[in-house]
Symmetry: C2
DNA sequence: AATTGTAAGCGCTTACAATT
DNA sequence: AATTGTAAGCGCTTACAATT
């Protein structure tokens, strides 16, 4: 049988150990305020009696600091946790916060409920890390007025300190790599470039109108490369995908590969899109990379688990999380950061030897 | 410029709206305690003045309930977030908790620091969901004495209410599927069956000694199938992997496929292992499934993103998370649950037509 | 009878006072 | 001078009293 304990307070300890509550508190929080011997006696006594240390709610109420960092996500929790890019970011962030004994509170961005309880926890949070997206949600609007520190990641804004990558440069380099093969027919699988809610064909004009900053930057990088190679834009096929899922990737790839003139290059705004395209191509017995080159974006771990492995833009999401965490905690100067990306030379688009 | 607000309290609202603090509190928490008209006037007034509702720390201190559920993980946060099985579970759990306006606090199991601050948050938590592993950690020991509700998932124990799958049955069925092909040489990639800390060959005897319940159950399922097919155990090759990573999977597969007598069946305790084996096999130009059958376990999404797709045991991790959450919240009777699994017929091991 | 207000106390931290 | 204790108050909820 498990033996349960009563909930112990600092008062109980003070009585049991014959000191004041202040001394107990100091023993835990301000070692310089009492003699070493007394501190050890108290710590030992508390351990023996089963007192786990000051109650977090009370401490937080008193000090105004909770040690909890709110992470405002662009999508639902379930999406973010299962998306490799977001989860890598969260892992990096969690590592840093954990080292400093801070905790993470994941806040879904899409909040429809107006119940005040869903906002309750916001009052506990010491500040926010905003991850991705534009966040037109009410929750987001409220945050701005809370006068708490905010770091934004993968958001194109001047309202906060941001941690970003150079999306345009990365996209440009990946597209150039594909275009070096002098393809006949280029296709792009884009993410949330247009406001549609299903996988659909897009025109270049529509794409320019997109407000989603990350996608737009990548799009501009692609355009830059296409222009450099004088690729006729009217020949370009673009399928836009509203949500970065494998299913959508397959659908997009299927649409592209069923065209009368089949693309020999597919440039993708994410590795998930690229992996979907790869799978569909292989199922259709299209030789990759011989008859079809594919480049991705992100450098997720899974991109190197396939055969052939994916050629993609490696971004360092874990590092991104660590940087955001360190900045939030003030361990790193609070200033805008643009992290580098690298080309990850996989097998789906080899380099052209010249 | 963003305009910041002062931190408002229930007192400020009482003064501004000319009612008592109790009435403000009731307006938020006990609608039956005041007239509809007054309640609306208060809610509207608070909104207008920018009061977000009662402070969570104060409320939690007063009521003893925080709405925060501690999720005790077997490994580090970064591992759990990036593991597809764990993250699916977390996604399901998060969904349920979020609907009920509860929050999740992820607690890494491997806690070496003795700083009391790392335990601070434990005092806030309303209860625990323990996910996987044996948890011999100090943190775990402490939890048992806290007299808070606990639900355990993927743990073989009688100390708590548990949510589990039938690991042995699932493993048995997957092994049988592979053995139907009457393989010459069977190999197994196992997880944490032996206490070694690197990828290593294992013997059948050593494997039985494992204390890790999930792995042992799967192992027993494999043995059951092997016996049924009279497969000579002395011919079996087993590589045991301490941590479920792709790198380890590749190493294990490499070891197995470099043997003088190459296996024509590899049975894997996880899809990550199976995907690694598939990749290594394809890189070595071994035809899958013709010359090598592979079966996995888990049914992670990525297992269906490859070509060929993986034959594996589908477990419903998101459902597992939902069930654990619902039970924790008391929306479902608190009783032990064993969730079903299904065979997911992919291409790496087709069914034998007889 | 229906509505609203008073006041205690949840467990802690910390300025400052009191003691050695 | 070094060590320890007193007491107020963080923001809230709720039993109960007071008012209409």
């Amino acid at each position: 049988m498990i033996e349960y304990k009563k909930k112990l307070t600092i008062k109980d300890m003070a009585k049991a150990l014959n000191v004041s509550t202040a001394t107990i508190s100091n023993a835990f929080n301000r070692p310089d305020q009492l003699s070493e011997s007394l501190r050890l006696r108290i710590i030992e006594g508390c351990q023996r009696l089963g007192y786990e240390g000051p109650n977090a709610a009370a401490r937080s109420l008193r000090t105004g600091v909770s040690g909890i960092v709110g992470v405002l996500l662009a999508d639902s929790l379930s999406y973010c946790i299962s998306d490799p890019v977001a989860s890598q970011f969260l892992a990096g962030l969690a590592d840093v916060l954990d080292q400093r004994q801070c905790n993470m509170l994941l806040l879904p961005g899409q909040e429809e409920q107006t119940s005040y309880k869903s906002r309750q926890m916001e009052s506990m949070v010491d500040g926010y890390i905003i991850y991705g997206g534009l966040h037109p949600s009410k929750r987001f609007q409220r945050l701005l007025q809370q006068s708490k520190p905010i770091i934004a990641v993968d958001v194109d804004t001047t309202d906060f300190i941001t941690v970003n990558i150079d999306n345009q440069e990365g996209a440009y380099r990946s597209a150039r790599l594909a275009l070096q093969h002098r393809p006949q027919k280029v296709a792009i699988i884009s993410l949330r470039l247009t406001p549609v809610s299903s996988v659909s064909w897009a025109t270049c004009d529509a794409c320019y109108a997109s407000p989603a900053s990350v996608s737009r930057s990548r799009w501009l990088g692609y355009m830059q490369a296409l222009q450099e190679y004088n690729y006729p834009l009217e020949q370009l096929s673009v399928v836009d995908v509203p949500v970065n899922t494998h299913r959508n990737a397959c659908m997009a790839a299927f649409m592209l590969l069923s065209q009368e003139e089949r693309p020999d290059v597919i440039i993708c705004m994410s590795d998930r899109m690229a992996l979907g395209a790869l799978q569909v191509a292989l199922q259709q017995h299209i030789a990759v990379p011989n008859d079809l080159k594919i480049v991705g974006f992100d450098g997720i771990a899974e991109s190197q688990f396939t055969h052939p492995t994916l050629t993609t833009v490696q971004q360092y999401n874990e590092l991104k999380g660590q940087m955001a965490g360190n900045m939030f905690l003030g361990l790193t100067p609070r200033q805008n950061v643009i992290l580098p990306t690298d080309m990850l030379m996989g097998e789906t688009c080899p380099e052209v030897m010249s």
